[in-house]
Assembly symmetry: C2
Homo-oligomer: 342 residues x 2
């Protein structure tokens, strides 16, 4: 079979590797589609070389069908449509014992710390499978993982229907958070610097703001009757956005930090005090978020077609990374079975 | 009567002013004791000259007895022991309408924005009175306001009995938070740089940590079985403390920002994300916090005698500010009736 692997030095190799049967407790998935995300791009850039073991078959956003079942696995049949919640926890650390398995202190993130979905046949422990409804298209289903991130972020925000929400950053995760927040009853405005992205977000029916042209604090105050936003999601990763985000929130408003900030960021703690704000960290997802994401995609509440910029064959994985790097695409899926069908 | 007023230029004048009878809806309090706090010191230093109108009779921590009652006031009698919750809200701004009157967007903080307790007779709206039990000493009762701050901070943290708590900063508010957290069932450790303050905190039965001598992260991990603290209170106001505070908290731990940071502070948002931390802003108090503070002081659960370093006569108010400025005192009370008794 073919597998796409990061081999270091900004290089993804697609090469023939042996198929191994699923071990006890495992299933083998025929991967249909795999999405490439920002973390994969970080790996491609070498920023995570300390963490990944090369050659690394990466990829953790996917959909597929069960191709084979290992011994001791119950409740699944060959042909079942599935996705994977790519977290393996130890079950014994303090975080796991407190019930927060998704933030296990020794978490194995499948597709980063262990082999991922960019291979034609992928063996995974049966416990990570999430069932897909038959009427959910498999290309759309490859978005379940990032949608689950957005569902988790919105759940962490404790959003209540009717609340006003500002999303800072209109990339793929920003758009998904905006979509989930809207589907959850929020009124949503998205702040985005890039004109093309801003136009794409506006096409999805969201109010958009160009922070270079509009005083965002004045705009939000006007929009909210001088109260401020109930919830702000910081998805841009920019230092200036973090510093300004606290000015957008109402008294007792919530700011969810979604973007990954690898260096300390100046924050306006005076505003946090003055308005009794709450800043909430959010990481990955729990099973209920995955199930919520499947439901939202199946119900058509996520603009999946608008988000999927392109679907490329497995052999073009390297080019797909370069396109994503250029910032010109929202989401690129890899058609993992493309060579099998030739 | 005599009143102590900030007149600018690091000067407090004690001078004779006319007594005015309480207006409709007001009561006149014979102030017994007034405490001086960090905010008063900021005013003395001129840092709040933009906000206060000089001459400014400041002071917002106090106890006393009702001396006269204005028209239309019910439920109070001359001689009743009282303290004051020094907040006046407009009742019409978005924060008030949402029920957060204590963070009114146009809050009048009595004793800062309007005249305070450093006068022999003080007229206040009856609505700000809080009743004191007869068996609570009036010197101890002058601590109700700062204890209410601590009760509010601990309530914002959602502390549950048995949780492990780190308080960064062992000044008056740090000690009060530690005391309230302990009285609420928390196990408390206090981090404090200053040896004298650290010794005073240890004398109150708290575990203390010198961050220059002990690796605080390793210590907390050892203390918590490698989990991290459930709750961290940042009370020091130091930039380094803010940056390091996130490393002390467990997965889903809470960090309450109590100190007032007048400039943006670098924060480790990667840790906030990685451990799904919550950062909570806390400001002043609500009536239930005041009532909780009265109860705790009456029950002897706050080390009031240990906290009150000295009680000085009204005429020595200026010297009391200088002593407090030197960092050698925890809490200094002014005996406001000292000249009346001569």
């Amino acid at each position: 079979m073919l597998a796409a692997s990061y081999v270091g030095d900004r290089t993804i190799d697609v090469r023939e590797v042996a198929v191994t049967p699923p071990g006890p407790g495992e299933v083998q998935i025929e991967v249909a589609y795999a999405g490439i995300c920002g973390t994969d791009l970080h790996i491609f850039h070498g920023s995570m070389d300390q963490r990944v073991t090369t050659p690394a078959t990466i990829g953790h956003e996917m959909s597929g069908r069960i191709a084979a079942i290992g011994s001791g696995v119950e409740g699944w049949a060959v042909g079942d449509a599935v996705t994977v919640m790519p977290l393996a926890w130890d079950g014994t650390c303090p975080a796991c014992l407190a019930g927060n398995t998704h933030i296990c202190q020794n978490l194995d993130f499948i597709g980063i710390d262990s082999p991922g979905a960019l291979q034609e046949r992928w063996n995974v422990p049966a416990g990570v499978l999430v069932r897909l409804p038959e009427d959910l298209r498999l290309d759309h289903a490859a978005l379940v993982e990032p949608v689950a991130v957005a569902v988790h972020d919105v759940r962490r925000s404790q959003l209540v229907p009717g609340e006003k929400v500002v999303v800072i950053g209109g990339g793929p995760i920003g758009v998904l958070i905006a979509s989930v927040a809207r589907a959850s009853g929020g009124e949503v405005a998205v702040i985005e610097l890039d004109p093309a992205r801003r136009a794409a977000v506006a096409d999805l029916g969201f109010t958009t703001l160009d922070p270079t042209a509009t005083d965002q604090v004045a705009w939000v105050n006007e929009w909210t009757g001088n109260a401020g936003a109930d919830v702000v999601f910081e998805v841009s990763g920019a230092a200036a956005a973090v510093l300004g985000a606290t000015d957008l929130a109402k008294v007792r408003g919530r700011l969810v930090v979604v973007a990954i900030h690898s260096v300390p960021r100046p924050m306006n703690l005076h505003r946090v005090f003055w308005r009794e704000l709450t800043i909430i960290g959010a990481r990955v997802y729990e099973r209920q978020d995955f199930e919520g994401a499947v439901r939202m995609l199946a119900e058509g509440r996520i603009p999946a077609d608008a988000l999927i910029t392109a679907i490329e064959p497995l052999t073009a994985t390297s080019d797909a990374f370069l396109t994503l790097e250029s910032g010109k695409a929202m989401k690129i899926l890899i058609d993992v079975q493309s060579e099998r069908r030739r």
